[in-house]
Amino acid sequence: MSTHPHKITVDGIGKSFGDLSVVGGVSFDVRDGEFVAIVGPSGCGKSTLMNIIAGFERADRGTIRIDGVERSGPSRNGIMISQQGSVFPWLTVHENLMFALSGTRHGDKEARAHRYIELVGLAGFEKAYPHELSGGMLKRVEIARALVVKPEILYMDEPFSALDALMSLRMQTELRRILDEERHTVLLITHDVEEAIFLADRILVLSPRPTVIQTSFQVDMPHPRKLSDPRAQELREAILKELGL
């Protein structure tokens, strides 16, 4: 689909809120189908950076290009899974997915919605409202709603951080399985280094505010990965050291 070498090009992005300089000049490229994880200290500007890349906020300087075309606002081919979650509480699970599909030209939307509800293991909960679901189920609705429109890019801002450790592990495995089935370009923010190692092709470590890319690690291990693998342990040590631990 993309003839351009890079799916996402982040070029010299800087952003301040008043006197607070948050993003201090960040540049990197993401290849089509690549999974890039971003880790960094709390409050360093990860969410701000991702909001800029996804088109929800304006940078003070720098540009974002998707397939070589400068981005000006949010678009359906890059769906954000936000830190706080944004499943509409007034719509049922099924209606949330149908809402997402309403702007698309996919054939047989009903069947598609059902397939993705099944994919995240929520068959039987189509008619449930979000307040009737558990936190983990809600997160899965959010993921299903993002995937159902077949976005080229997935932006995930700490998607599993609100879940307990067990649920978080389960979701990581599920996400990996889904990504093996459907190729997406993924940008994932996480504070969980192991999650990044388990999922990503490349890990960017951000510095404290104003944030810049401090280091970048390539993760050359085949899936499914084992965190007990010595290479994974070594990588983990190296990343934690970068984060000052």
């Binding site: 929800f56 606002g73 949010p74 954000m80 979650g85 509409f88 509480p89 007034w90 719509l91 809402f99």
Partner: protein, 256 residues
Amino acid sequence: MRETDSKLARVVPPVLVIALLIAVWWAVVARSDSPIFPTPWQVVTGAWDLAQDGTLWDHIQASLVRVGIGFGLAFLVAVPLGLWMGWVPGAYYTLNPLFQMLRPISPIAWIPVAILWFGVGNLSPVFLIFIASVFPMIVQTTVGVRTIDRRYLRAAANFGVSRSVLFRRVVFPAVLPEIIVGMRIGLGVAWLVVVAAEMIALNSGLGYLIMDSRNAGNRYDLVIASMIIIGVIGLLLDGATRLLEQMKTVKWRYVR
């Protein structure tokens, strides 16, 4: 067991308080031998006579119809206007100061104006009810739109839906709980105002019944009966709007 316990706990104490109040009232009236102020029993028999000859129902119906029309019109004006003001910043900055200024004016203060413009017929109370309930509903709807959580608007923008889907599936349902709160406030003041308006210059309605009972021979039993009926109907109206809060699509706002 727990369930019934808590139900009992919610029903028994208020009933006891009301029963106690009636008992005190009865005792005080009986002791003081007041020639005018009625005992609870006189109130009951007075109300019973009115109910028997049908006049009570006519008065209740007259009041309810006025509230229905005035409140209905206010709702039809307030919700679209509030949605528009909440959504379009220009409309908000232009109109909000005006409404904020008109809102604290007591509807009672409009009575002379209403009589001047609409005479002493049915139109005056309807106008007053409209004035009383339209502003809280406008304000509530406007605030509702302006406080829609940004993440929902972002999600909607992300999926690139059409304007009509955005309004039908996101903006309106997000504001609906606020609209319902506005309706409760609006209906509450509408019921307050109809009684006040009817006391001025009409020949039907519960407000009229109060004034007429006093003027036509100090029938304080009927005055008190009317007051109690007004209270009970007000409670029922509020209960009816609260039923709206049970709708599945707004429940999210009231749980947790």
